[in-house]
Amino acid sequence: MEIVEIIKVVVAGIICWLNFVLIDTYFGLPEKPGVLGAKTIGEKIRDIGGNIHGGYFMGNIVCSPDASAGTLLASIMSYLMGVEGGIIAALLVWIGNRLCADPGYAGTIGALTITAIIYLLSPIIEAKYFIAGMVLAIFTIQGFEHKYASILLGKIAKKMNRGE
């Protein structure tokens, strides 16, 4: 019985990973540091042997709520309230984006997209598994090994013509 739940968590994690990495790369996060704090994190990642565009990507996630935060908060609110919760979460993420002085609409688009995906997949995978899947997805980028994660993000950015 627990095997089925673990498989659901892993599948939800893969969906969340593809969602926020593709949206963040399309809106141009790996090109340049949006705020000043992201620049020093990118240079630190380069010093330990990683790719600098992946470093800018990680720094922008830390310094302002982007599509990763939108994915997590929209899945939380749609677990608690239903479809209306996702729209409230999108509004609050937009206010948070303005507070951090970061131009761009990546967070709002990410929150609306994951709300639609959860509504379509709700008979198969419940919204509770998407929360654990999002934590698992952010663990593979920010927590596990910084060097290889930045190299992988740099390759994806180069393939989508963002950066270089």
């Binding site: 739940e5 630190k44 979460a89 654990a132």
Partner: protein, 81 residues
């Protein structure tokens, strides 16, 4: 105990130990961001009502604002030193 809470709890415990042991200043911020994701998910799973969602969103946005200020200060302090 649910299987979902156990997975998030193990990741949060691992992050709390790695923040304590890492020596670099910039890499501590990356681990702190991951821990903030975990705590925000645990709050929403523990308080099972819409007010818990509001608390989770407020906590996450304020935590991001705090780490933005720390990263800005590391850049400024490097110039002075």
């Amino acid at each position: 105990m649910d299987i979902v809470e156990i997975i998030i709890g193990v990741i949060a415990l691992l992050m709390a130990i790695r923040i304590f042991l890492t020596r670099s200043r910039a890499r501590k911020l990356l681990y702190l961001c991951c821990l903030s994701f975990c705590i925000s998910a645990l709050i929403a799973l523990y308080v099972d009502s819409p007010m818990g969602g509001i608390v989770a969103i407020t906590y996450f946005v304020c935590s991001t604002l705090s780490s933005n200020a720390i990263a800005y200060t590391i850049e400024q302090a490097k110039d002075i030193e």
